[in-house]
Amino acid sequence: MYIHSSSFDLQGERKSMYKQSENSFFKCGEKTSPISVILVTSGSRGNKLLFRYPFQRVADCTSSLTTKQRSPYALNTTGDVLEDPDGDSREQTPLTDEQLVAGFSDIILATILATKSDMCGKKFELKIDNVRFVGHPTLLQHPHTIQVSKTDPSPKREMPTMILFSVVFALRANADPSVISCMHNLSRRIAIALQHEERRCQYLTREAKLMLAVQDEVTNMTETDGSPQSPFRQILPKCKLARDLKEAYDSLCTTGVVRLHINNWLEVSFCLPHKIHRVGSNHVPPEALERSLKAIRPYHALLLLDSEKALLAQLPLDCSPALVRLIKTCSAVKNLQQLAQDADLNLLQIFQIAAHLVYWGKAIIVYPLCENNVYMLSPHANISLYSPLAEGFGQQFPGHDLPSMLAKFSLPLSLSEFRNPLDASVQEAQLIQMVVWMLQRRLLIQLHTYVCLLVPPSEEEPGLLRDEELPLVARVGGRSLSTPSALSFGSPTSSDDMTLTSPSMDNSSAELLPGGDSPLNRRMTETLLASLTEHERQVILNIPAAQSPEDLRMFARLLHYFRGHHHLEEIMYNENMRRSQLKTLFDKFRSVLVVTNHEDPVISLFQSPLE
C-alpha cells in the first residue's frame, strides 16, 4: 500500500545498524532474500522458461558442470571467493547465490518448474540440493479446451495456447519456513493478478510471445555470430512483466517492500516482515508478530515510526479515509480507546488499522507516554559511539549526544524524573521528543510493576509444604484478559468482541456495592477468598489492614490479578482505579505480596527479538 520511498531514513539506519553489529554469525540477508525469480509456462508448445532474473553471466552459461561444491570449512586456496563485505573471515561462502541457480539450465528449470496441471492452485515446493523453489502454479485454461482448439483449423488458433504458468522464487534451502511461506504468498498474489489480466486482455500471452520472440532472436544470433548472450537482458527493455519481476526481486532483496502494477493496472503489494521487522541482526517471525498484535489492549498506544507528513505522503490517492484520519489523530500520549473517539472510528477499526501499520513496519505498539512511565535502556540497544543512530541523534538534537542520554536510562527512570523540574520548560518538550525518538528506534524498554500473591508457608506443618506452595494460578485457573483472538488480518470480526469497557469477569467489580460492611459485601468477600487455601486465608485475615472491610474487599476483588501476569496499569484500566489507591493497597498487604518490575512480554516483541 505504500510507495517505497528512499527517503525513509529509518530503513537506512536499520540496514547500517545491522552492518555495525558485532557477532553477526551469518549473513542474514541471504536467508531472507530470494536467489532468483523465474517465470515458466506450460502449453501447447511444451514447457518454457520465459524469464529469469538475475540472468546468468555469459561465461556461466556453460559452466554448470564446472562449479565446484566447496565445503564451508575448506580453506580458501583459489582466489575466487566473493569478498564478504562484513569482513568476517570465519565464514566462507561455498557457492554464491547466483552460482547455485546458474547451475540449472533454462530447459531443466522449465521441466521441473512447469508442473502438471493437477499441481495447480496449490503451493509448489521443490528442493534440489541447496536450492528451494517455491511458487503457485496457476491454471489458465481447462486442459480439455486445448484439445478443442487443436482441432480447430481457424488461423486464430495458430497462436500457441498457454495452459498454466508459475512465478517461482528460488531461495537458499535453509531459508526459514516463514520466509518460504511469504514468498509463496507473493507468488500467489502475482499469479492472481496475471490470471485476471490474462482473462481480461490476454496480457500474459502477449508478454510471453514477446519474451519467446526475443529468446528465439538471440538464439539465432548466437548461432550466426558465435558469441553467447543472455536473452533475458534483451527482454527487459521490451517487456513490462519482466521489469515487474525484476523489481519484485530487487525489492525483496533490499527493503522487503514490493509494490507492482501488473499491466500498469492491477496493483500487487506485499511486504516481507522478516526484512521490515529487524532488531539488530535478528528478524521477528511473522507468527510472533501476529500473536503480539492479537494481545494489544485498548489502553495501549500507537507510536508512528515516521513523521505524520512522511507517512501520509506514502499513501496512495485512493487509500481509506479512516487510515488518513487515524494517522492524523494518532499520538504517543493517546491510547487506542481515546484514538477511537478522537478519530471517530470504532475500536475494532482502530485495532485493525493499527495492526496493519505495525505489520508494514510503520508503527509500533507502546504504552501511552505519561509522567509515571518508567523506562530503561534496552538490552539490545546499540550504544556504540560510532553507530549511525548516534549520528542521527546528533543531527536531530544538536548539542546533545546519544550515549550520554542513554546513560541516564541505565537505571530505570520515570519520565517525570527525566524532565528535570529545574530546567526551563522549553527544554521539556525537547526531552519528550528525545524519548519518543529513542522509543522509535527500540533503544528503550518500559518497565511495569507486576504483583504476585505468595503467602509465607506455615511453620507448624512442614509436611504440608508441598500443598502450601501450590500457586494460586493452578487453582483459580488461567484467565487471559487479552483482546479476543477474533482480531485477524483482513477478516471481518464481530464488533461484539470488542468492548470499550473491561471484559466481564466472574469476579467483576461492577456488582459490588460501594461502602459499608453490609452482609452482601461480606459474603462477596468471602466468596472471593474461598479460592484460597485455609492457611492463606488465615494469614491474610491476620494482616492488620484486613481489619478494614473496605480494604479487604478491594484486596479480594483484585485477587485474580495477583499472579504476576497483569501489570499495575492494566489493573488500573480494568478496575478504573488510581495508581495511588493500588500502591497503598500493595503496601498494606506487602507481607503476602511480592512485587517485581520488568517489561511487558506482550509488547516487548516490538523492542527486542524473540529469544
Binding site: 558485532e22 534496552s378 556504540s384 541505565s410 508457608p457 494460578v473 504476576g564 518490575n597
Partner: protein, 379 residues
C-alpha cells in the same frame, strides 16, 4: 524419532518398455498412481538432475529421493536409472532424512557396480525385505544396521539437526545443563576431557584455559561444541558486585511446578532443608538495577539463609529468569589530537575489557571514574 516419521520407502526405476515405474514400495500401494504420475519427473529425472537430493511436495506428501544413473552398454538403453526414496507427510521436517537418502543411493550404486545387484532380477528382489527393515528400524530407533551380502553392510543413523551455536567469548562461563556425571566422559574428544573438570559454572573460558593448560581457542571450540549439543549453556562471570534484573520469564517460577521443583532443589544450600518458594521468589524479585548481589544478601538476609546465592544467580541466568546488567564505558568527548577510543566505544562490556586487559573491575572502575570524558551505560 518423533520428528521425521517415514511413511513409506519406495524403489523406482526406468523400465525399458514401461518407462518410469515404482518397482517396490513398503507399505504396498502407499503411493497412488496419481501421485506418481504427478511427481515422476522428479524421481526418474533428466541427466542434469542426477545425484542431487530432490524433495518434492505434492498431494499432502513429501517425497525425498536421489536419482541415480549408471551408464553402460550392457543395459538396455545403455543406462540404468533408479531412485530409492522416502515418503513423509507434507508437514514433516525432513532435513535429517536427507543424508540417509544420499547414503542409500550411494550404497545401491556401489552394490550395482560391484555385483549387478539391481540389474539382476533375482538379487533385486532382496530389496523388498531390506526396505521393510529399513522402514521399521529407522522409525523405531532412528538407526539401522543391515548386512546386504557377505561384504556389504548398510549403516544408517538419523542425526538431529541443531541450530548453530553462538560464538563463545573468553569471558563467557559454561555451565552444565544437567548433572556432570550424567555424561560419559570417554565419548568426548581429548581436549574436552581435559577441560571438563574445570567447567564448574563459575570459571570463564580464559580461566579454564589457564588452569587446564589448554590453548584458549581450543577451549572455545570445545565449549562451542558442547553448546551445540546442549550439554552446556553460557552464563556470565559471577561477582558479588554484579547487578541483575528480572525478566518476564521469572513468572514461570510461579506458573510452572516443574520449574519450581527444579529451582528449589538447585538453589538450596547443601545440607539444608529445602528453601521455600516465597523466599526464592522474593530473592529473584529483589534483583533490580542498582542492586548488587551483595546488597541483595544483606537486604534479604533471612531469605538467603537456606539459599546458595551463587547457584541462585546461576539458575536464574540459565533459565532466563534474570539477566545480567553489564557496564559499557563510552568516551563521549575527547581531545581532537588523541587517538579514538578502542575499547571505550559502548561495544565492549567491563567483563570483556577486564578479560582482555587483565585489569580487575575495581581497577577499571577507579580508572574510569576519574575520567570526566567517559560515561557508563548499563544494559
Amino acid at each position: 524419532m518423533g520428528m521425521s516419521r517415514i511413511e513409506c520407502i519406495f524403489f523406482s526405476e526406468f523400465h525399458p518398455t514401461l518407462g518410469p515405474k515404482i518397482t517396490y514400495q513398503v507399505p504396498e500401494e502407499y503411493i497412488s498412481r496419481e501421485l506418481f504420475d504427478t511427481v515422476q519427473v522428479y524421481i526418474i529425472t533428466k541427466p542434469e538432475l542426477q545425484n542431487k537430493l530432490i524433495t518434492v511436495t505434492a498431494m499432502e506428501k513429501k517425497l525425498i529421493g536421489c536419482p541415480v544413473c549408471i551408464e553402460h552398454k550392457k543395459y538396455s538403453r545403455n543406462a540404468l536409472l533408479f531412485n530409492l526414496g522416502l515418503v513423509c507427510d507434507a508437514r514433516t521436517k525432513t532435513c535429517a532424512l536427507e543424508p540417509i537418502v544420499k547414503k542409500l543411493s550411494g550404497y545401491l550404486t556401489t552394490l550395482e557396480l560391484e555385483s549387478g545387484f539391481i540389474s539382476n532380477e533375482e538379487s533385486k528382489q532382496k530389496l523388498l525385505p531390506i526396505m521393510s527393515t529399513l522402514l521399521e528400524e529407522l522409525n523405531a530407533t532412528g538407526a539401522c544396521t543391515l548386512p546386504i551380502d557377505e561384504s556389504n553392510t548398510i549403516n544408517l543413523k538419523l542425526i538431529e539437526q541443531r541450530r548453530d551455536p553462538l560464538i563463545v567469548q573468553e569471558y563467557d562461563v559454561p555451565v552444565f545443563t544437567q548433572c556432570k556425571d550424567h555424561f560419559i566422559k570417554s565419548q568426548w574428544d581429548l581436549t574436552t576431557q581435559q577441560i571438563l573438570a574445570y567447567v564448574d559454572g563459575f570459571r570463564h573460558i580464559q580461566k579454564i584455559s589457564a588452569e587446564a593448560d589448554v590453548e584458549l581457542n581450543l577451549v572455545r571450540i570445545a565449549v562451542q561444541n558442547l553448546l551445540y549439543y546442549g550439554v552446556v549453556t553460557l552464563v556470565s562471570i559471577f561477582q558479588y558486585s554484579n547487578v541483575y534484573c528480572t525478566t518476564p520469564k521469572v513468572q514461570s517460577l510461579i506458573d510452572d511446578r516443574s520449574v519450581q521443583a527444579e529451582c528449589l532443589s538447585y538453589v538450596t544450600k547443601q545440607g539444608q532443608k529445602r528453601a521455600c518458594l516465597r523466599d526464592v521468589f522474593q530473592l529473584y524479585c529483589g534483583l533490580t538495577p542498582g542492586t548488587t548481589v551483595r546488597d541483595l544478601c544483606s537486604r534479604y538476609s533471612q531469605q538467603v539463609q537456606r539459599v546458595d546465592e551463587r547457584r541462585l544467580i546461576q539458575y536464574g541466568l540459565m533459565k532466563g529468569l534474570i539477566r545480567r546488567l553489564q557496564k559499557y564505558p563510552v568516551k563521549v568527548t575527547r581531545d581532537e589530537r588523541s587517538r579514538p577510543p578502542r575499547l571505550y566505544t559502548g561495544c565492549h562490556s567491563y567483563d570483556e575489557i577486564c578479560c582482555k586487559t587483565g585489569m580487575s573491575y575495581k581497577e577499571l572502575d577507579e580508572r574510569l571514574e576519574n575520567d570526566p570524558n567517559i560515561i557508563v551505560c548499563w544494559k
